[in-house]
């Protein structure tokens, strides 16, 4: 190899390393800032195609019932093949999701034997081999990433490891986002509970003072009024505070 070729080779490697660094920073950034999960998954799929030098990639996630759904693909062809995988329930992504283990570098005969319809479509599309990496964290398997290659040559272990590392980052981001969503609902409920309690206690005091009762008696009256008028205690309390209901009405006085 001449000096020029070596120098080009070195530049290519440096460029790849630089891109690698950039992609990781991009993915990691999404974990700390506000981010769009769908955008992240598209970035992941594009990054995998760029850095692993595969022809196409697609990502599928399991829905609540445990079935896979295609979420992001690097091109239309990949997306169609994924839909086919699901239709026939046959393919590396399906196997990968079921086992949680990577499916890679299968011999062509084995692939044809395991996924006949799927591999027929794959080869018709111009690809020679397909691999899948799991999206999992400990025991949870969220989905899988399909890799489509136009050669039968095995993917290098370093490439597979790189792809897996990127898939892992996306998995963490996804789990984090889901947790935050669930937790947001819970914390809002707790906020409401706290504020509701304050409002009800304040209303008890106001009604107690207006009526000359104890707060406990005022509370009894509020509850009875709530039942009579088919409203929640909170609504009654707010009406007491804002003065939109007269104390005599709440206390059910004078209209018998």
């Amino acid at each position: 190899m001449g000096a020029q070729e070596r120098s080009i080779g070195r530049r290519a490697v440096n460029h790849r390393e630089q891109r690698l660094g950039e992609v990781f920073v991009e993915l990691a950034d999404t974990l700390v800032a506000d981010f769009d999960i769908v955008d992240l998954l598209h970035t992941l799929v594009e990054a995998i195609v760029e850095l692993l030098e595969v022809e196409a990639a697609g990502l599928m996630l399991a829905d609540q019932r445990g079935g896979l759904r295609p979420i992001a693909a690097s091109d239309q062809q990949a997306r169609l093949l994924e839909l086919l995988e699901l239709q026939h329930q046959q393919g590396p992504c399906v196997d990968c999701h079921a086992s949680g283990e990577r499916v890679a570098n299968m011999a062509r005969e084995d692939a044809l034997g395991r996924w006949p319809e799927f591999m027929a479509a794959v080869e018709e599309s111009g690809y020679q081999s397909v691999h899948a990496l799991p999206m999992r964290l400990r025991g949870q398997i969220l989905g899988a990433v399909n890799l489509f290659c136009d050669s039968e040559a095995a993917l290098a272990e370093s490439d597979l490891a790189l792809g897996q590392a990127m898939a892992d980052l996306a998995t963490i981001a996804l789990l984090q986002e889901r947790r935050v969503e669930e937790n947001s609902i819970l914390v809002e409920q707790l906020q409401t509970a706290l504020n509701t309690r304050v409002v009800i206690e304040q209303a008890k005091g106001m009604l107690a003072e207006r009526a000359g009762f104890s707060p406990a008696s005022a509370f009894t009256a509020m509850r009875a009024h709530a039942r009579r008028t088919n409203q929640t205690l909170l609504v009654v309390a707010e009406a007491v505070i804002s003065g939109t209901v007269r104390s005599s009405v709440v206390l059910d006085q004078g209209s018998r």
């Binding site: 914390v187 706290l194 309690r197 304050v198 106001m206």
Partner: protein, 243 residues
């Protein structure tokens, strides 16, 4: 990057699991929030820990406290409406005051006076929140000044995460419209304070917010707790008539 994130989350999970596991800490009989603050106080070089449930409007209820001093720390903040806990919740980030005597008077003059009197010399307030929604604060105090140090601060933050997860877990397990006992019957719910506030609002013909200010101001002036005065208002031994 992955290591950092997974480590802190792992640490919070380990802490929470140990707190739930009664035998590990031998604290049968204590509620889970109280076990958590005890565990935190044992694990870190602090004098005590308090856990407060807060809303956007300020401190709502004290859920747990390791000691009388911890309760004083929380009570002061509620009485005065100022303090590191409250600031922490507003800013949604930790408020670390490693030398209360030095930096406290400028930031929280009345609170600092009361806290120093109680023997508190440093306070570390850590927010409990989900995204931007506030849930509460974990307050740690020391009886001598000095910062927590990087490792201890990381551990304290893990405890704050564990506390957040604990409160959410407790609530998640409930039926809709039901509150877990930790929230329904906290250490201090200030129900009487809110009732008294309502009564004062009518007596003095002011808004609820103004009524609370009147109650707090009087409490500070006569050096008695807001709770004590609130009970007197309810018993009709104390009035705040229209001036």
């Amino acid at each position: 990057m992955r290591c950092l994130l997974v480590n802190r989350a792992d640490r919070a999970e380990t802490i929470l699991q140990a707190v739930k596991d009664d035998t590990a800490y031998g604290r049968g009989g204590l509620s889970l929030p109280n076990r958590l603050v005890q565990s935190c106080a044992d694990a870190l070089p602090v004098g005590g820990v308090g856990l407060v449930w807060m809303s956007g409007a300020g401190p709502g209820a004290m859920l747990a406290a390791t000691s009388g001093t911890a309760r004083v720390m929380e009570e002061l903040q509620f009485v005065l409406g100022e303090g590191p806990c409250i600031e922490c919740s507003h800013l949604s980030r930790p408020v670390l005051s490693e030398d209360l005597a030095r930096s406290g008077p400028g930031r929280w003059p009345q609170f600092t006076e009361g806290a120093l009197n109680a023997g508190i010399r440093a306070i570390f307030a850590l927010p409990l929140q989900v995204g931007r929604i506030p849930l509460g604060v974990l307050d740690l105090y020391r009886e001598s000044p000095g910062s927590l140090g990087e490792e201890d601060l990381a551990e304290a933050l893990a405890y704050a995460d564990a506390a957040t997860n604990l409160l959410l877990d407790l609530h998640a397990a409930m039926n809709p419209n039901e509150l877990h006992e930790a929230f329904a019957r906290p250490l201090s719910a200030r129900d009487e304070v809110h009732q008294a506030t309502g009564m004062i609002a009518v007596q003095a013909d002011v808004t609820l917010a103004e009524a609370l200010v009147l109650l707090r101001a009087h409490s500070f002036a006569v050096s008695r707790s807001v709770e004590d005065l609130a009970n007197e208002v309810i018993a009709r031994e104390l009035r705040f008539d229209h001036q």
